[in-house]
């Protein structure tokens, strides 16, 4: 595929173009903002530090396997994968379960929302109409399970515009991309992000297939699809989209980026996390399709 920037998620493109830490906009983006009648007023940011644990946070009552185990009830997606054999043994994983780690999701959502809220407050306090070029990151502060959420951007005022609303609009886009968005008839509303986290507690078949072993009792065809994990992958992406869709109202999501990570925990267990980010946009005028662009070859 030629021309990588066309396919990069907007947020990543912005992050790459960004210069030193304190400058919000690159020179071309700054020029483009002025062209659009946006006056940068300041660099705004919000932070939130959350306690971060990978495993269950208290009170979920997870059993450890074997006969009569408790299936976790987390209030979210949950699917049982009972082992098809009638075996009971300390080593045979007679039951398996995919379940949504709702506590992880709420912690992430809280961290992100708090950081975002603080950034928006800063912008509102300087009378900004909007925030462009938002960058959101999260990084561990230490090994002890502490995660810092950081959301930052450049607050802007619309020249000759009506007084700003209570809450400024926000977008990951900046510069020419934002200009084209507006020209196309979309108004930026806010950035949107949703997270889903699913834990795979493998049953015997999943364990065997993931480890490639083919024990006598496995009953799994060698080389077959690992149903339980595949289902988890499908669910985690669907849930992330659902979370974001729930935030959209009648608006659309533009320039989205979906990132899924998988942590293999051994013995077929895994933890999947999917984060979907994008720009919530609203139509403010009918779309005026442009004529077919002229194909050109550059002589450099």
């Amino acid at each position: 595929m030629s021309g990588a920037p066309a396919d990069l998620p907007e947020a990543a493109a912005r992050r790459f173009a960004e210069g030193a830490f304190t400058s919000g906009l690159t020179v071309p983006d700054f020029a483009a903002c002025l062209q659009m009648g946006l006056e940068p007023v300041g660099f705004v940011q919000g932070y939130c530090v959350m306690q971060w644990k990978w495993y269950g946070m208290g009170g979920m009552g997870l059993g450890m396997g074997g006969y009569g185990a408790q299936y976790a009830n987390t209030g979210g997606y949950s699917e049982n994968w009972a082992c098809p054999h009638g075996m009971v043994s300390a080593e045979h994983r007679a039951w398996g379960q995919n379940f949504e780690q709702t506590w992880v999701e709420s912690a992430w959502t809280e961290g992100f929302t708090s950081a975002y809220g603080r950034m928006v407050e800063e912008a509102a306090s300087v009378g900004a109409h909007g925030i462009v070029g938002v960058v959101d990151t999260n990084q561990p502060l230490s090994d002890m399970g502490v995660l810092e959420f950081r959301v930052q951007g450049t607050a802007v005022r619309v020249t000759d515009g009506t007084p700003p609303a209570d809450e400024p609009w926000t977008t990951y886009l900046a510069g020419q991309r934002l200009a084209k968005l507006v020209e196309a008839g979309y108004a930026p509303v806010s950035i949107a992000a949703g997270v889903a986290s699913v834990r795979v507690w493998a049953n015997c078949i999943t364990e065997n297939l993931t480890e490639g072993s083919n024990s006598m009792y496995s009953m799994a065809q060698p080389g077959s699809e690992i149903d339980q994990t595949v289902k988890a992958h499908s669910v985690v992406r669907r849930l992330a989209r659902q979370r974001v869709r729930d935030q959209l109202g009648h608006d659309s999501l533009h320039g989205a980026a979906m990132a899924t990570t998988e942590r293999e925990l051994g013995q077929g267990d895994a933890e999947l996390q999917c984060i979907l980010r994008g720009n919530r946009v609203r139509r403010f005028k009918d779309f005026d399709p442009m004529p077919a662009p002229v194909p050109t070859v550059r002589l450099l």
Partner: protein, 294 residues
């Protein structure tokens, strides 16, 4: 050879847009309406990972994005498969083929469910691990605006960007799907005697050549067979990878995948490319090392 007239010539110039006025209006609309309020145009709630450039180009051919879709598949590879052997590692080749096929089926199904005509800009992520081979596909489902255009045609899945899809569309081509092929082989061993004889000489190692060559061809052929199965005329933007496995250096994998295309009707339409000479010295692009001529 004459150059055909460029596309777009003779059309009236688009009216210049007053960007500042647009921005003021946009901000008002957002500030005024309640969160989740309706806009003046019909509200189609779309999710798309296309950039605004891609979306504009898509619209210029009368298509629009509607939904983010994905498909994933993981197939197991039995233990001991990577130990030294001879010839093709069939379990691995089969696992790759099946994972790719099932992942494509799933993203295809999601697209159909969302009412799309096809998926563009698919990010193809695949990984070969010691005990399983994974394929994950994510893309944006698209369809003609107001349901015009192709209606009876099957849904396509392609890794063409929105822009490339539009370019091919204007030239008269349509994508059909993703074709993939892979072949995993053990590196052939040299017998002790041959090894000693060859030391000190510069010779072709015919055993090795034959094995690697065959595997490479095999991967490409599987991709071709898959393309023929979709009744395609060609495969474009084929991406080929080859190399040893991280976890087993004597096992080598060859993969190839690309988008299957065919002419919609009649002949290829020339695009009439115009040559341009940009008078830019992009400030960001300037790099002192280029002065060294390297």
């Amino acid at each position: 050879m004459t150059v055909p007239a460029p596309v777009g010539e003779g059309l009236p110039a688009p009216e210049p847009v007053d960007l500042k006025a647009e921005m003021i209006r946009a901000t008002e609309v957002v500030g005024r309406s309640a969160p989740g309020g309706k806009g003046p145009a019909k509200a189609t709630r779309m999710l798309s990972d296309l950039s605004i450039d891609e979306e504009l180009v898509l619209h210029s051919i009368g298509w629009e994005p509607i939904e983010l879709v994905s498909g994933v598949s993981i197939h197991s590879v039995p233990m001991y498969v990577w130990n030294w052997g001879q010839g093709e590692i069939e379990y691995a080749s089969a696992a790759y083929a099946r994972s790719f096929a099932r992942a494509t089926e799933r993203i295809h199904a999601e697209c159909t469910k969302a009412g799309g005509r096809g998926v563009v800009g698919v990010h193809v992520e695949w990984g070969v691990h010691r005990h399983h081979i994974d394929v994950a596909l994510v893309g944006t489902a698209v369809r003609p605006v107001d349901g015009n255009g192709l209606s009876a045609d099957p849904v396509f899945v392609s890794d063409l960007s929105g822009r490339d899809f539009a370019l091919l569309h204007n030239a008269g081509w349509e994508p059909l799907g993703l074709a993939a092929g892979a072949s995993f082989v053990y590196a052939p061993r040299r017998s002790m005697g041959t090894a000693v004889k060859q030391k000190g000489q510069n010779v072709e190692l015919t055993n090795f050549t034959e094995a690697m060559y065959a595997a490479r061809e095999s991967a490409m052929e599987r991709m071709q067979t898959s393309a023929l199965g979709m009744e395609g005329t060609g495969v474009v933007e084929v991406k080929v990878t080859e190399g040893p496995m991280d976890f087993a250096h004597h096992a080598v994998g060859f993969t190839a995948y690309g988008t299957v295309v065919r002419l919609r009707t009649g002949e290829h339409r020339h695009v009439g490319a115009r040559m341009i000479l940009p008078l830019d010295d992009p400030v960001l692009g300037f790099d002192a090392t280029s002065l060294r001529g390297s």
